[in-house]
Amino acid sequence: MRFDSLIESVGRTPLVGLPRLSPSPDVRLWAKLEQDNPTGSVKDRPALYMIAQAEKEGLLRPGVTVLEPTSGNTGISLAMVCRQKGYRLICVMPENTSVERRQLLQMYGAEIVTSPAAGGSNQAVAVAKDLAAQNPDWVMLYQYGNPANAQAHYETTGPELVEDLPTITHFIAGLGTTGTLMGTGRYLRENVPGIRVVAAEPRYGELVYGLRNIDEGFVPELYDADVLSSRFSVGPREALRRTRQLVEEEGIFAGISTGAILHAAMGEAGKCVERGERADIAFIVCDGGWKYLSTGAYAGTLEEAEAALEGQLWA
């Protein structure tokens, strides 16, 4: 396939079957390989759409400063696009994110403002909102509330899935900004009768939930519970176990959040087998495992890996 530039090549990722992890010929698992995007994650899709929308609204011109709270992947995608278009990018990132994500951001030319580990991305959002208020000429794309985030998946991820897998019965993805699930989920609900849309939400160590009170909690503005059929919380142990199973049995080297998603997907698959229903279950591989090697996720026993992840934002 030929493209005029790297940016043009975002999306249209492969959907691959998992013959070893699928429980039966009637209940099949399918992985959508989003690590095949230019910067190696699903976030290239929303980053491109958010930038394009801001350009359409006349908010961006060369030299402008773009600001974004991100635990990593969205920042890396934005950095790739901003560098090519001549925009300055500042990412607000919690300090408990992997060193690879920081180095990649810096390599792409982004500046990093660090937010405290306690409170996780909530604090990154709060710091970014403060910075935006102090610098009214900066443009905050704000992935948690920007409709272009979900729209990217409504216009690309959703149609790609239906084209490649017209018999799809389930869609499983991670719940962070909620953009992947909201956009893809809405498209699937409009086009696939009876589709189940299932969220896998990472459950971190206690530090990440270290808010001062409940009212500091955060629900992304994009989130609409009506799009979902169900929502599961997946802890680090299960996420790590599935991440390793995915590379050992199917050769797919994915990041840890993908393990959490696979865990929810296999739970749905098991229920279909019990009920004797046929199913084609598609799930998102958010990124490759490369950016998480330093976390210890792939070394030693599961217990050691789980201990190493304590307090880190692994999704």
Binding site: V219, S233, V234, A315
Partner: protein
């Protein structure tokens, strides 16, 4: 056997610092009423005056979000595991 309830750090002032407490009840609302009899004030932090779950509180039964199971009327049985977490941002 009872139902184990995992409590997040910010609500442990109601459980004497305990990370997990046990309770009984055949639904989430009866479990919360039972817990509140020993951990007074806990229920009010989870449930609003209108009788729904607080917007920034997530409750999971066996890892599934109760908002997709029946909310406060979600049925419970002995041996179930309940987890309470504040809503935090991802991405």
């Amino acid at each position: 056997m009872a139902i184990e309830v995992r409590i997040p750090t910010i609500l442990r002032t109601y459980t004497g610092g305990e990370k997990a407490v046990e309770g009984t009840g055949d639904s989430l609302s009866s479990l919360l009423a039972d817990l509140d009899s020993r951990h007074s004030g806990l229920r009010d932090r989870l449930v609003t005056g209108e009788g729904g779950l607080h917007r920034f509180v997530n409750v999971y039964v066996n890892d599934e979000d109760v908002r997709f199971l029946g909310g406060l009327e979600t049925p419970l049985k002995d041996g179930d595991s309940v987890t309470v977490l504040p809503a935090v941002a991802g991405g």
